[in-house]
Amino acid sequence: MRRIRKKSRALLTAGAVLFSLFGCTGHPPAPPGPVLEVKVKDFKIEPSLPTIENGLVTLRVHNEGPATHEFVLIRSDLPADELPIAADGLSVDEDRVVPLGELTEVEAGASDALTVALTRGRYVLFCNLEGHYLTGMYASIEVIDDV
């Protein structure tokens, strides 16, 4: 189970990297699809919109600090504050959710982007450093069909 999860996560990351490389050959990379700005700070995650159109979605993450944070995107119909907690009692059990993409370390003051193909449904964004999720670093968004 864990092996599979790792494999899918690696594939996703590779895909994201490929996308970003593809998009990075020019000057400022023009995101291919809809863009969602996400503000990260101690200890909150604030997407600029609650909904976004489906497709190749780019999440532009800005860490306003002061601490370094992680950024994980999962698809889940669970309410954002009810994700399964791991055995340490301090972080989300990533084996029991399906991560679609992850930025492992976003430095304070830095920005990073994650581009993923999203279909209609509910998604949760959170920081999974110990204690951060439980302190409230999560938010949910909804992906809707093209209008």
């Binding site: 601490a67 003051g109 204690g131």
Partner: protein, 802 residues
Amino acid sequence: MSEGTWEPNRTPRADRPSTVRRTSFLGERRTDRRFRWILTSYLIVTAVIISYTAGAIADQRGSALIINIAARQRALAERYVKDVVLVTDGIQADPLDDAEQLLTNAHALLVGGDVIAVHGADAEVVIPPGSDDPAVIAKLEQEQKLIERLTEIGHDVMQLDASDPMFDDKLLDLRVAGALVTSVSNDAVGKMTQDAEAAFSRLVLIGIALGIIGAIAAITMGVLMRRAGTQRASQFRSLVHNASDLITVVDASGIIKYQSPSSEQLVGIGPDRLVGSYLRDLVLPDDREYFDALLVNGQAGSGAVLTGEFRVRHADGSSRYVDTIVSNLTADATVGGLVFNTRDMTDRRMLEEQLEHRAFFDSLTGLPNRAVFRDRLDHAIARSARDSDVLVVLLLDLDRFKFVNDSLGHDAGDELLVAVGGRIQDCSRSSDTVARLGGDEFAILIEDAASEEAAVALAERLLEALTSPFEVRGREVFIGASIGVALHTGESGQPDELIRNADTAMYAAKGAGKGRWVVFQPAMHQRTLEFFEVQADLQRALVRGEFVLHYQPIVDLANGKLQGVEALVRWRHPTQGLVMPGGFIPVAEETGMIVPLGVWVLGEACRQAREWRDRYPETSAMSMSVNLSMRQLLEPDLVPRVAEVLAESHLEHGQLILEITEGSLLQDVGETAEKLSALKDLGARLALDDFGTGSSSLGHLRHFPIDVLKIDKSFVDGLGDEGSDASALVRAIIELARTLHLTTVGEGIESAEQLTELRLAGCDLGQGYLFARPLARDGLEKMLRTGYVFLPSALEAPSRFP
């Protein structure tokens, strides 16, 4: 100077020691400067490296300690959570102590201060603020807030009972808060470590850069030192090789170990043939004893320096005068012998001898001149006082000489004078002194006359000899002579008196109809009386203000501009009109009146110079020359007098030139030199007047602080005459003056030829009738007003000046 009279230990000459002591070259000084610069830079770079390294090491140690403390916060937070849980389980623990440490350390990491360490090693230390990086500071602030929150929750948890429904929630809050502290602390430590690593990399880079700069400086310095060493050695070699001075190194027995190439010029033998031979062999046999003494004395002490003069033999058979400086460098391993630094003095000695001869002998007849006659008379009178000898002075003045001169010309006159000198000598004995006093006046001194009759017999012989016709330029010329005879019979009496008596008698002879001799009788005191009369008149004249100054322009020969004036005294006699100095200065000298008269002249000249400077500021550089007599120079209060006059007139430094004669310098050499130095210190310049007519030892020029050399009119007179040696002498004098940095003034310039020759010889200034006679004040003022330039046409002649 004849051989054997030189002292091996004479003081080195002022113009020579430079060759011995001055060892600094221009290039060397430049290299020294570069050395200093490189060395200073190297030292600065080294100091920067050391202080930077020391500072960086301290910083690194400090930041390592701080990071260590920051990293412990995480462990402390975990322990705190654990201890709170233990306490709630009823197990003994001390979370309060953990909390205190957490809070204290968090505060210290932010603003600096005491920290409480977990382990003993660095307990209770004071740290500076943990970082100046804003990102780190923000993280530490966050951490501090989280710690405060953690300890608050911990406090709440400890207040609750385990059975309380709130307990589990609170415990989770506690663990979450602990995790947040841990996470943020990790984050902060990570960032601090990153900063420290960057700082360390910078330190390494700067260290490498400084090391490279230091190495470059060290290598440059080494290269420069090596180059300077080579340069110095080659400079020395080239100096020795090219020096006109002869540089010889001999061993203790006088064998030449090294010889510079200039031996080829000085003795006509190359260094190759000289090395290995005795230096003594080059010395003239008469001077060898002296040379041996020099060699022995030269070895007296290591580092000793002494000077000597001797003659050496040239391969062509001639001899050369040399002076030498002997330095004992036996102890110097690189030299290991006595160094003779030898210079050819032949030209200077020849000139000295020529001038000496000129000073004592009449250049026309070769007879002793007035100075020699006077000297011999002085000695003879001194001797006669002891031996009671009868001394006789005969003064002989030619009759009709003026007629010959005027009708047949000066050259014929000169020829006649030479012949007369010969006949007088033929009549005299070799022990008598025959002198030409000037013009057509001769004198004979007989030191051991048996009686008055013997003297009269000589006078008779002379008259007879001179009455016989002379053949001049193919013509027979008849002249005669009048002779005055004065006897000194061992009683006290002055030489001047004896000459005056002979003179009186001679005039008596002329008055009696010429062609005869007259022996002086005391009754012939008329002239003496006149003398006293003049003296009394002089005193009155000074009181009544009958003296006036006339000013003879001194001209810059390069451009004809007025450079200065010489003040000359005149006597506006109530009955005789304007009397020239010849009419009263000798009497004034003899009676001592010259002293108050000289004071008046000095004061008036300086006052006038000041007035002109104020009225014609453009002539401010114009010098005022004033003659200083021998009597004045002997006055003890001369220096304060001059100081007073200069203070009153506020003349510029160097504007006043005091002219003295060579004779004045012979009086009391030590005291005179001191006085002259004192006068120079007051701001006066010193000129040697009538140069070449006195004793003419060039030593004067070296021993006295002279600034200006005035070449006597007698030299200038001879310029332009064919067959005259005057040109060569004048050139030699000017050349000599130039080497001694003296300004030269040609006196008595009367013709354009003389001017041209002087200019070609490089004479700086000149005065004489060609430019202007001495002028009364008004006459000179007219020149000053108009900015008069002298003789532009004469100055257009070809000259060495641009």
